[in-house]
Amino acid sequence: MINTPAVTTQTEEDLVTQAQAGDRGAFGELVQKHQRGVINLVYRLSGELAFSEDIAQEAFIRAWEKLPGYQPISPFRNWLYRIATNAAIDALRRRKEEVNLDGVVVSVPGKGLEQKLEDSQRDEIIRQAVLSLPLASRSVLILREYQQLSYAEIAAALEIPLGTVMSRLNYARTTLRTSLSQLLEVQ
């Protein structure tokens, strides 16, 4: 079991080096630091919470196994997102894109019931629109819009040329502008 991390001033680079040497406690701190980002990434891709948590776990396990091969030429976060994206894409393809949106927990704190319902419908429309994109362009859009990766980082993460990143992003945005036109007009 991973040790609960103590208050620490260690840099991420130190933690990665220690984890590469087999320090499970250091890896535990990396898991704690990046778990929310990884779960959210998979959640945006799949629209399903339980699936996201399972795939996030799988991604961290894969990361541990591949850790000796990691070279800090790119940020650890991007390397992790690359593993998580690939794990999610593999799993989604295995499931033939049968995404189940039931049971998704949406957090809308501090609002009245009507407003919550309205917001919830709005969130649902946005999520459905994103999920209806092809997996290839959806991945690029999510890494850009939600994970704030640069084009070069997305290209490295998905192992695709920079031009492909731009064309997929353009396709995703054009499609979303059409499917979300009603919501965009209200804004």
Partner: protein
Amino acid sequence: MNSHVTEWLAAYHDGELSGRRLAHVESHLKKCEVCQIALAQLASLSALLGEAPEAEMSFSADRFAAQVGLQLTRQPRHKSEPVSRPGWVWTALPVSLLVGIAFLQVVRWMAGGLSLAQMFGFGEAAVSRLTNAPVRPTGILAQISSELIHFGVPFSPQMLIGLILPAILSVGYLVWLIVWGLNQGEFEATQM
């Protein structure tokens, strides 16, 4: 007018432009309402997407980390140890097979040499003693021999040395090569 910067607007919006291209897009935007509207649409879409809530984790961060920890292997896999397997066995296996194949080849050459010597009449007495010595298969060889003869296949020790053993050793070496190749592939896949 086809001087719009539409194709660069997304990259501008994402902060991906620099240098002269950035300056060109910025100066164009100051005077082009069409491109300003297109840029505003991109910004609206990003803002709308940003409204979608994050996933609410069904359990705590500590529990998640603990669950991951339970599934970790003891050590991350190192480059020098792609697959755990006794090293000396892994190396000795192909070497033994190759030595076996070489040994059989030498035996065949020697047998050929003796036949040649007999043909040209050199050391006839010794050669005929060696080549005419009755060689009867025993044990499992006798069993194989009788089975093969039963199926109409003549069996002789020469056949064993010349055909069956080299075939077995070659197949063994081929299997080792395939397993080695698969392991190499697996190891490279871990170095992503």
